[in-house]
Point group: C2
Chain length 248, copies 2
């Protein structure tokens, strides 16, 4: 059986969808999603998946949908070697599914929340696909940009330093980085909220920290972190501390 050569292969698109509002997709992403014959997206087992939800109502009637369901839950610690092994096998399997589509000469649009190259899951497929396939990335508005816009105040001024941190970092590392920064964004908070709160207090930036949940979505909420009494934040929550730079 003849292998299709590179020129007859389909293209795999990693399409950033932005922070959540359909109106904030780029013109290119909007066109690719609406015209797609085949889409793929990550989701947790039993969930509809945030990326898939964003494009509700935009898809062609006969679109083929490929859901890629994470094999692990938060029950397994990310420091567990089993976690990495399971995830690595999962990404390899997803890669094979996408390659099979491209080998049939078909394009596939992979839906990505936020910006694909900024802390996204698609990059794990991208690294496995890029040598043998045509992969095109469509950048997008980041979730953090949706969050700071929701606060109705600029995040950075003049020569402010912006530092972006994950709530999964250790408290010591968080404190050191928060103390050095002017403007701060903290993502992946979830069950790390108490650690993050303590780090902001220790570094003297707690009072002006904002918690944004579901930025740009219908259920968006914006409040001072000091007024949020939470033991866990939703997955789509971001903490923002504004910069303090020169302002003529």
């Amino acid at each position: 059986m003849r292998q299709p050569n590179a020129s007859t292969k389909g293209t795999i698109y990693g399409v950033g969808l932005g922070p959540g509002d359909q109106d904030l997709l780029s013109v290119r992403a909007d066109r690719l999603v609406r015209q797609a014959e085949i889409i793929a997206f990550f989701r947790k087992t039993g969930r509809s998946g945030q990326a898939r939800q964003i494009v509700n109502g935009m898809l062609a009637d006969k679109v083929q949908e490929i859901s890629m369901e994470y094999p692990v839950t938060t029950e397994i610690s990310i420091s567990d070697p089993l976690y990495n092994k399971l995830l690595s096998q999962f990404y390899t399997d997803c890669t094979a599914r996408l390659q099979a589509i491209a080998d049939r000469g078909k394009d596939v649009v992979v839906l990505c929340e936020g910006d694909p190259f900024f802390y996204g899951s698609f990059m794990h497929l991208y690294e496995r696909l890029k040598h043998n396939n045509t992969v095109k990335i469509v950048p997008a508005i980041t979730g953090m940009s949706g969050a700071w816009t929701a606060t109705a105040a600029p995040i950075t001024w003049g020569d402010d330093v912006l530092t972006v941190l994950m709530g999964t970092l250790s408290e010591d590392v968080l404190i050191k980085n928060i103390a050095n920064a002017d403007a701060i964004v903290i993502m992946k908070i979830g069950r790390n909220i108490n650690k993050v709160r303590n780090a902001l207090i220790a570094a003297g930036r707690f009072e002006k920290a904002w918690l944004i949940e579901y930025a740009t979505m219908p259920n968006q909420s914006v409040q001072l972190l000091s007024e949020a009494n939470l033991e866990v934040t939703p997955y789509f929550s971001i903490i923002v501390v504004h910069g303090k730079g020169r302002r003529p």
Copy 2:
């Protein structure tokens, strides 16, 4: 003479245009720009202005264009108090022009390169307008997102720390921040390129630093900084050093 009340005032839109490619405007920005009766934009005297250039061919036939021309050039040092005084007066004048439009009950779309709340000039008008006018911000794809997408490699993985720095910072501050970061973005390079180069070398991150000029634009260029022999970089250049986080 009766003052128009708030409900009859027009809306002032701060519309992010993204990194430069028209196809990367958001659906909302695209619609606002195409439907605008009045647009406004910053530019240097004698230049066409980058924001205005991005929307070439998109504007309504009878659109009214308001150019806001910076009163200062790079001849004046930003540490000079005269610079701040001139700029402050300029922003106050621009604010008055936009308010006069809103007072006539007309909307105005202010074109902003990149994302308005991320190191943008519009925020200086926003802070002056927000108390007495309805100002709506449309977030956008940042210039740095266009730049890292152009490198064809993810900027951040796992729990990488991302630090965004301006080339206008002192060499010491640059070195300290570069040494602490995983992934790095440096903007506002221009005549600071030698200082930035020295800081990257001193902090041990020079070898894998990329220089992206005119990201997402027809004249886009991507090269290792170590292979770029420049004494000054164009205004639309960004340095990117990719993160090195966990990758299953």
